[in-house]
């Protein structure tokens, strides 16, 4: 997996007033293990995410960071341990899974927009069919969020007509239309050209400023430094180190972390 590493400088002043972390727990993972066939991809993961936290997960390729956040909305099934999302435990009960998925938004590396639907239809589909919201109301909500990600004028176009950065912002808007309580980002900028990364990061920063609980797998260390309140470093399917960004970048404790940071920040 080719992962380009960027350190885009976020130039704007960040409003930290709303970015307070509450005591309430959003996601609770205890003793979670996962295997792909015989391969032990996640090992004994313990992670508590509080409401309003912005967590950046980094680590080398194949360290299991994507798999970890994909377990939170059960795109991947974990084998042992417990995952509780917003008070609901993830089991094989389909009702719980659909409920959790409708409250956890997700953005993918390759956007995964629906190419046969317009931007507006992409954004209204799930609210109409899952939340049973009337079409007009769903369209109003969709336009609100499309304005928020600054592409309302593209509403009638198809995903293929938009640039990568625009598509990723649509994907964010599409998730937001479901009014999620938690947002998962799986390398949202890795497939983008450098000049488009900033527009996506700006959108994510705005989201953070509004107090959204976010888990981001990303290599954008500038974003991690400025927005995250916690950085998690994973290697070999384990959480190796986690800390506040300042401490994590300036004073890493583990050798693996030091090696990783020297590799991505060393040039």
């Amino acid at each position: 997996m080719a992962e380009s590493i960027h350190d885009t400088v976020v130039e704007r002043e960040i409003d930290r007033r709303k970015m307070r972390v509450s005591d309430e727990v959003a996601v609770q993972i205890t003793g979670m293990n996962k295997w792909f066939g015989m391969f032990h991809v996640l090992r004994d993961i313990d992670l508590t995410v509080h409401k309003g936290e912005r967590i950046v997960i980094c680590g080398p390729s194949g360290s299991g960071k994507s798999t970890l956040i994909r377990c939170i909305n059960r795109l991947e099934e974990h084998q042992t341990g417990q995952i509780i999302v917003e008070g609901t435990e993830l089991t094989s009960d389909l009702k719980n899974i659909d409920k959790i998925r409708s409250e956890v938004g997700m953005c993918f590396q390759h956007f995964n927009l629906f190419p046969h639907l317009t931007i507006l239809e992409n954004c209204t589909l799930a609210p109409i069919w899952v939340r049973k919201i009337p079409k007009r109301e769903a369209e109003e909500t969709a336009m609100h969020f499309l304005e928020k990600v600054k592409i309302p004028e593209q509403a009638e176009k198809y995903p293929g007509q938009l640039s990568g950065g625009q598509q990723q912002r649509v994907a964010i808007a599409r998730s937001l239309c479901m009014r999620p309580r938690i947002m998962l980002f799986d390398e949202p900028t890795s497939a983008l050209d450098p000049e488009m990364i900033k527009e996506v990061l700006d959108t994510m920063i705005e989201l953070a400023e509004e107090g959204m609980t976010m888990l981001c797998v990303t290599h954008e260390m500038g974003f991690a430094r400025q927005v995250a309140n916690r950085v998690i470093f994973m290697d070999d399917g384990q959480i190796v180190e986690q800390n506040e960004p300042e401490e994590f970048f300036n004073n890493p404790k583990s050798d693996r972390t030091k090696l990783f940071l020297s590799q991505i920040l060393g040039h």
């Binding site: 998925r101 409708s102 409250e103 997700m106 927009l113 069919w129």
Partner: protein, 445 residues
């Protein structure tokens, strides 16, 4: 001075292309005569086309249109051209075209298949041209599966109404319980109970009397309102029969094929095994074998005395045959979708059927349009195989027309006419699929 350094001092103005590369001359040069070898090939091809066409057109156009028998045709040919060679005798078509279209359907009832055809067009229009035709026509589409058999076979309207009501009962009962599986099971069971009650007991007249007033019950079936004269299956034939079997097979095989394709991809082991087994078995057996099963073997298995209509049996077999092929075509379309589409749908909380209906199928079917339409065309032409089991499709009829002493020995004219009928239908389907592909093309692909 270095060769790598260059600065343009004067910009060049735009010029017209040379005359030999544009216009008619340009086109001829580029496409027909680019060099001497291609020029020779062009001339040779044109000569070959001329040779074939002159023979064919001469045969088609310098022909006899009115004659009551082949010998009469030949007399006219001798009188006009001095030879019977190279002239078509369209008299047979003139004489028998109604039979080729309708088989032995009673001529005074021809309005019924024609009405059924017109209704078919009205029923297909909102499906095929959803953006141009009012969705109100969908009521015709919904009623058509029940109306068509009534129009074609005749009988009491209460038969199709009873069948349709069974579906309505299944729908209403199926909605009642929570959950898809109990709903499905209850719905199917209630429909079966309904149909047994409706058709199993000779109380229809009494049911009617209770429902519509006692006067009705006294009326004999033949004079009852909405009673159509019955036409037996053995009188069906001609292009009408091909269209009937073809339309049913095409209409039913698509949904069945979708279900089979989904079943084949399912995680549920038994569902998957059943679907794979069905598809592989049907695809491994020639259609003619299945038709023989329909015409002879089925009678052995059915309880004695049951009268299971032969055309209905053939329709079921052709549908199953087409569905197996359809399932594989659609599986190809499903395989063409990136997993990201499934994940995108899952991450938004859409359940399995919503994701299939709204995200996966629209894209998979769009990819599979050429394959689906090829299967449709293939199955429509395969309906001519029913002549093997003595149903009088156009080819079967051409044999029985030749059996008449008037037309003994006539082949080409009949086959040409039948070919023309099939060509019109198949070419229409082919064009429609190209139209649909163009229409569904969003600008990203």
């Amino acid at each position: 001075m270095s060769d790598t350094s260059f600065v343009r001092t004067e910009m060049l103005a735009e010029q017209d292309p040379p005359p030999t590369s544009v216009g008619v001359i340009g086109w001829l040069r580029a496409n027909l005569f680019p060099n001497w070898w291609n020029a020779v090939l062009t001339v040779l091809c044109l000569a070959a086309i001329w040779y074939v066409l002159s023979g064919l057109l001469g045969w088609t156009l310098r022909s006899v249109w009115t004659a009551g028998s082949l010998s009469e045709c030949r007399e006219v040919m001798i009188a006009t051209w001095g030879s019977t060679h190279g002239h078509a005798c369209w008299g047979v078509i003139n004489d028998r075209w109604l039979q080729l279209l309708f088989g032995f359907y009673p001529p005074e009832l021809y309005y019924r298949p024609i009405l059924a055809l017109l209704l078919l067009i009205a029923a297909l229009a909102p499906v095929l041209f959803a953006d141009k035709v009012s969705p109100r026509f969908l009521y015709v589409t919904a009623a058509y599966p029940f109306l068509m058999p009534w129009l074609m076979w005749g009988g009491s309207i209460w038969t199709p109404v009873g069948v349709a009501a069974g579906f309505a009962v299944a729908y209403l009962v199926g909605r009642a319980p929570r959950g898809a599986v109990p709903g499905l099971v209850l719905g199917i069971l209630s429909a079966i109970v309904w149909w047994m009650a409706w058709f199993g007991f000779p109380v229809q007249a009494e049911v009617l009397a209770a429902g519509l007033g006692e006067g009705l019950a006294a009326i004999s079936p033949d004079t009852a309102p909405f009673w159509l004269e019955t036409v037996e299956s053995r009188k069906f034939g001609g292009f009408m029969l091909s269209v009937m079997i073809g339309v049913v097979a095409i209409g039913c095989s698509l949904p069945l094929g979708i279900l089979l394709a989904l079943g084949r991809q399912s995680n549920m082991l038994i569902v998957k095994a059943i679907c794979v087994g069905f598809i592989e078995f049907i695809r491994g057996v020639p259609l003619i074998t299945l038709l023989f099963v329909a015409s002879t073997l089925l009678n052995i298995f059915l309880p004695p005395g049951t009268n299971f209509d032969i055309i209905l049996r053939v329709m079921i077999m052709v549908t199953l045959f087409a569905a197996a092929y359809m399932a594989e075509v659609i599986r190809g379309g499903l395989a063409g979708l990136p997993t990201g589409q499934y994940e995108g749908a899952d991450s938004l909380g859409l359940n399995y059927w919503q994701a299939q209906r709204l995200i996966i199928m629209p894209q998979a079917l769009k990819i599979s349009i050429p394959g689906i339409v090829s299967t449709f065309i293939g199955i429509f032409k395969d309906t001519t195989l029913v002549s093997i089991i003595a149903l009088l499709d156009p080819l079967g009829l051409s044999n029985s027309i030749r059996a008449d002493t008037d037309w003994n020995g006539i082949y080409w004219e009949l086959f040409a006419f039948i070919a023309l009928l099939f060509f019109i239908a198949c070419f229409g389907m082919s064009r429609y699929s190209m139209y649909l592909e163009r229409k569904l093309k969003t600008e990203n692909d």
